[in-house]
């Protein structure tokens, strides 16, 4: 089973430490939610894990190999990455954007091989995009576009997926749909690390929470084990009420502190 492990990661830029002494891991079959306020270092840590950004110190190993040392295509076949900014340069059809996820497999637009086509079809089906294949991406709603980007990442058929705020600016229904797509990816054996802002949603869907504050990982564990009203207050500066119900932790944010 594929395993991604970061040890003692430190990233500094412009005299500011963005991530410090961070440990993180992700393996197949688990959904990890990364939580933390703005500027906590979530995006930086995700980029380091994805091998896009080299840390100043510390290591990121993918099954025992340094991620940064892997050739870009070999890395992308094992580690799909969905960044926070997802600007599309051209109004391409949905199917073509999803097919770009096959780049690391040598899949090229307009001339996909059988394996590529199967992966693209599966990703389109997994993200409920059937019927949208020929739609131009600039005619889609925010929720539809978010699913297209997720499908693009899933089309790579990488065992691990890192997604930076895939649900930002989505309405509640779209958030739960996205969560459902991520859950089925994980249930099929994939490992997903997802940066989220919605504490309640994270507590509900994640197998494990990784809570960051000021560049450090301040808690890492099952939602029930680590989530406390004290932690939420310390990290987010809000008063929250936690209720355990049916095996889940329900998080109710009540006020700013």
């Amino acid at each position: 089973m594929t395993e991604l492990v970061a040890r003692d990661v430190r990233v500094a830029a412009g005299g500011k430490v963005l991530v410090d002494a961070a440990n993180a891991s992700l393996r197949g079959g688990e959904l990890v939610a990364v939580l933390g306020p703005n500027g906590a270092g979530k995006t930086t840590l995700t980029r380091v894990l994805a091998g896009i950004l080299e840390p100043d110190s510390g290591s990121v190993m993918l099954d025992g190999e340094a991620v940064a040392a892997l050739p870009a295509a070999a890395r992308a076949r094992r580690l799909a990455y969905l960044p926070q900014n997802r600007p599309l340069a051209w109004p391409n059809p949905v199917r073509d954007v999803v097919a770009l996820g096959r780049y690391a497999h040598g899949g090229t637009l307009g001339r996909l091989g059988d394996a590529d086509r199967r992966a693209v079809d599966a990703a389109i089906a997994a993200c409920d995009l059937a019927g949208f294949e020929d739609r131009s991406c600039d005619t889609l709603s925010g929720g539809e576009l978010a699913r297209v980007h997720l499908a693009r990442a899933l089309a790579a058929e990488a065992p691990l997926l890192l997604a930076d705020e895939p649900m930002v600016a989505l309405d509640p229904r779209q958030r739960f749909r996205m969560a459902g797509h991520l859950r089925s990816f994980v249930d099929d054996g994939g490992g997903a690390l997802v940066v989220l802002h919605d504490i309640a949603l994270a507590a509900r869907i994640a197998d494990r929470l990784l809570v960051m504050n000021d560049g450090r990982v301040v808690a890492d564990g099952m939602p029930r084990a680590i989530l406390t009203e004290r932690l939420v207050a310390d990290v987010y500066g809000v008063r929250a009420r936690l209720v355990e119900r049916a095996g889940h932790v329900d998080v109710h944010i009540e006020s700013a502190l």
Binding site: A72, Y81, L88, L100, G110, C137, H149
Partner: protein
């Protein structure tokens, strides 16, 4: 329409355009005499007009158009901006500057090849600088700004040279060349330039799938397995070599590198990879026809191809800029 159909149509249109360019001109020859010249069965005068004047000129216009069209399409893919063109990175301007230097110092008397060679040297100097910078600069906007700076500086030095031109003949030479033209190009000129154009286009063609994946943005493209540094260097080099050779052959001809990809893109699902080849073919056709217009217009002084291209291209550029509808900026 598939990319293959489009390419076939454009390829046939290219042949038609070049044959038409051999048929049309200030001397009305008729199809029989032109075909006779091709088959070696014409009067020596006809043969000279068709094979030594019209054909090289048409081929030069086509090669220059192809180089600029493909370079434009590739740079637009790399910079993710439909308004990019070889001029944006300052490659054309630097090539033009080096060629103007050669004219200014009268080096052109040393041989017909000096000016084209100087243009290529200039383009390669600019691309080498940009390639070195591309490896260090993360932001493509910074790279564009560097190109704009390079372009402005080259234009300033060029104006200075025009200002200080030693005599009217040199000045007229420099202006003629700076305006862009394929008049009086010989097969020898083509033999010098075309291998560079082909080499540049081959490099660009090899980068095409990287251009596709850049649609997602640089961060996501890198995440999807693209080696960003290599992609940038390859596109800048390919576009630089092809553009330098084109400027060396015909001088500065603008805008065709913007217009052709813009027309082609909707026909190939906006895929930068599939727009590369048709952009080259269409830009070649456009310049061949523009050059035919230049030749058959009954003006006292023949219009310069670069001027006609700009008269058509600049309004098109403005139109594309205003109508630009990016999914995201």
């Amino acid at each position: 329409m598939t990319a293959r159909t489009l390419n076939t149509v454009l390829l046939i249109a290219s042949l038609v355009a070049i044959v038409l360019a051999c048929l049309l001109g200030s001397t009305d020859m008729g199809i029989v005499r032109v075909l006779g010249a091709f088959l070696g069965a014409a009067a020596p005068g006809d043969s000279i007009v068709v094979l030594d004047i019209r054909l090289p000129r048409a081929l030069a216009a086509y090669a220059v158009g192809a180089a600029l069209g493909a370079s434009g399409a590739a740079l637009q893919g790399l910079l993710r901006n439909p308004l990019a063109e070889p001029g944006v990175l300052g490659v054309s301007a630097t090539a033009a500057l080096f060629a103007t230097f050669a004219l200014y110092y009268g080096l052109s008397v040393a041989g017909a090849f000096v000016v084209p060679l100087a243009a290529m040297a200039g383009a390669l100097a600019a691309t080498a600088l940009l390639a070195a910078a591309a490896m260090r600069i993360r932001s493509i906007v910074t790279l564009i700004l560097l190109g704009v700076g390079l372009s402005s500086f080259a234009a300033a030095v060029m104006s200075l040279l025009l200002n200080l031109a030693p005599n009217p003949f040199t000045l007229s030479d420099m202006i003629n060349w700076a305006l862009g033209s394929v008049a009086n190009r010989s097969l020898a000129d083509l033999v010098l330039a075309v291998p560079f154009i082909v080499a540049g286009l081959a490099v660009l063609y090899a980068t095409r799938h990287g251009l596709s994946v850049l649609t997602l943005g640089e961060e996501a493209a890198a995440g999807a397995g693209l080696d960003l540094g290599r992609q940038r260097v390859a596109v800048v080099l390919g576009a630089g070599i092809a553009t330098g050779a084109a400027v060396g052959l015909a001088g500065a001809i603008g805008f065709v590198g913007i217009v052709a990809p813009h027309v082609v893109r909707p026909l190939v699902s906006h895929d930068p990879a599939r727009s590369l080849l048709p952009s080259a073919l269409l830009a070649g056709i456009i310049l061949v026809f523009a050059d035919v217009v230049v030749r058959v217009l009954p003006t006292t002084n023949e219009l310069k191809l670069g001027v006609v291209a700009a008269l058509i291209g600049a309004p098109a550029f403005a139109w594309i800029a205003v109508r630009r509808r990016a999914v995201h900026d």
